[in-house]
């Protein structure tokens, strides 16, 4: 007798022909509480404030921004690891925010996550075989013996020696641990992997190995990635499209090459200017410091456009009303009253 979860997994995929993932007006607020015994809410951290995007099968969407902009929270809200405050997350035509218990578990087979810190995301008391095989055990797939074979196969896919199954995480380097995390994410043949800063803790030579591996796996298994990172060079390398977040909002979204060549939003422009390029001749000519000051606190985000406090083009209107997302052609959208064009980029 097919279980509920299997039905769920098979049926929608056959009839559904839209984007793999559709996020609409996603909002997540964390309460700030005060008091020792009687906790009362005295305010909210506005982590994610109305984020919308779509992601197709086999595509990579990069999500970039500075620390605290809500990019990781967005990733976790999609997986329903955090319950969104409002908004909708539709995966293969199914609304996830309304699902509970076993229904949700069924959908989670299709979407997995790789975490940032390879030292904290693997249980130090479990062997590599148990870690990579755990998703199979949780979803009761195959018999124990078959699972062992599958674990060896998975380790081989991510470029680790299949005989490592009885070792513990501390015996591995950071890069190898990240591969173990990736093998665990691949165990259930997911359609979507949320990569939450998967290479930021790694050295550059190891980072390159990991990025090449992610590239290869995507082609082999037709995976969709939501690639969350703060390093714009890495995101540019791996993504088809890129969304830039600032204080809980997406301020610009565009195909990768387009965004880097023609940034429209002043924040994107400043972010790109801030990144040093490993070329001393070019570096001498570039101006890095376009954005002044610090990111404001997300418990009292600025009124109007959230970026106006640091923007070099801000006008009175920016402090009053949040600019809407506008389409500028070529799949390029940005939320700004005074978008940059060729001339204004050259001047600033």
């Amino acid at each position: 007798m097919p279980t509920v979860t299997e039905e769920l997994r098979v049926t929608p995929a056959k009839i559904y022909e839209g984007p793999l993932l559709r996020v609409k007006d996603l909002v997540k607020r964390f309460p700030i509480t005060s008091g020792i015994i009687f906790q009362r809410t005295i305010g909210y951290i506005h982590a994610v404030e109305g984020v919308s995007f779509e992601l197709d099968t086999g595509e990579t969407l990069g999500l970039v921004g500075e620390s605290g902009c809500g990019k990781s929270t967005t990733g976790r809200c999609i997986l329903q690891l955090y319950k969104p405050t409002s908004g909708s997350v539709v995966f293969e035509g199914q609304e996830l925010t309304e699902l509970k218990g076993s229904e949700l578990q069924g959908v989670r087979r299709e979407m997995q996550i790789v975490f940032q810190d390879p030292y904290a995301s693997l249980n130090p008391r479990m062997t590599v075989g148990t870690i990579v095989g755990e998703p199979l055990a949780i979803h009761s797939i195959g018999r124990r013996r078959d699972r062992k074979g599958r674990v060896r196969e998975l380790l081989d896919i991510v470029g680790l020696n299949p005989n490592f199954t009885n070792r513990y995480p501390h015996e591995f380097s950071g890069g190898q641990r990240q591969r173990i995390g990736l093998a665990r994410a691949l165990a259930l043949n997911p359609k979507l992997i949320i990569c939450d800063e998967p290479v930021s803790a790694l050295d550059v030579s190891i980072q390159a190995q990991m990025l090449n591996l992610l590239d290869r796996l995507q082609q082999e298994f037709n995976l969709a990635y939501l690639f969350i990172a703060h390093d714009l060079s890495v995101v540019r390398h791996i993504s088809n499209r890129v969304a830039v977040m600032y204080l809980g909002k997406i301020v610009e979204i565009a195909p990768s090459a387009e965004l880097y060549q023609n940034p429209i939003h002043p924040y994107t422009f400043g972010l790109l200017a801030a990144i040093p390029i490993p070329d001393p001749v070019l570096e001498k000519k570039r101006v890095h410091k376009v954005i002044e000051g610090d990111v404001p606190s997300p418990d009292h985000p600025p009124t109007g456009c959230v970026f106006h406090t640091r923007c070099f083009r801000a006008q009175p209107i920016c402090t009053q009303e949040m600019p809407p997302m506008e389409n500028h052609g070529h799949g390029h959208s940005a939320a700004c009253y005074f978008p940059l064009d060729h001339e204004s980029r050259a001047v600033s």
Binding site: E66, S67, D203, L232, Y260, A274, P276, D279
Partner: protein
Amino acid sequence: MSHLLEINNLRTHFFTREGVVHAVDGISYTVDRGKTLGIVGESGCGKSVGAMTIMKLIPMPPGRIVEGEILFEGKDLTKASERQLQSIRGNDIAMIFQDPMTSLNPVLRIGYQLAEGMRIHLGMSKQEARERAVELMDAVGIPAARNRLDDFPHQFSGGMRQRVMIAMALSCDPKLLIADEPTTALDVTIQAQIIDLLEQLQDQFGMAMLLITHDLGVVAGVSDDIVVMYAGKIVEQTDTEELFGNPQHPYTEALLGSIPRLDETHRRELANIAGLPPDLVNPPSGCRFHPRCRYATQICVDKEPPLAPYNGGPGHLVACWHYRDSREK
């Protein structure tokens, strides 16, 4: 005129239960007044240990300077007494660390921490030191400096704390500033602000800087010369433009090829450096990079290549039996 800092054949080893860790194994370089030397390499290559050794900030034991000399204005610091070192640390040589969250004392007010060094080294009174602290905080771009003197470190953001660290480092007008990954923990927009500030202050105060980083982009814009380290040794050393324009060591080449660049026009596969950095208790024989090097031959396994001038010129040193030009012949 002699060099401000001259390191000769320095070896710092750690004597641990697992064996002797050859963290820094025979490095030599010089830093001139007002210049910036960048030291790049991956984690565990010995770049930080090398810099900490200059200030004798490594725990001894288990660490020990096995060999070599550290000449600062002609004086050998390896032979200096603790008392002499005290008068140099924070005074002639100052240091900024990677993590601005942990390098300030959380229970002392910012103003007190800033003034401490000036009262010890420059013999200032409390009031004088406080006034000077305000000036320094202004110089590093902390808004409303006077009102923030009595704040605690947790009331500052990461970028602001790093500014406080810089102000503290500058307080005694040092001749050499050692910056160990000063921007690694910061967001890019803040990183740009801090680097800009460091360059501007260097012009203003005329100090030399030793910039230790893993980010090749950061050194490209700031350094005059660069040293590339691998597994406790220097593999290549030259001026910045030469290093990026004409890298000769296979490790330097691979390192440059492995970073995704913002100005790339088409997508390429990143250069892979196969394998992992070596264990420094039992480093590989011969050239330490040979197990990961695609050009390695028998000689690389048997004999260590000397750090020798490339092409006969004095400026560009490379330690490789098969450096790029020799392969192309």
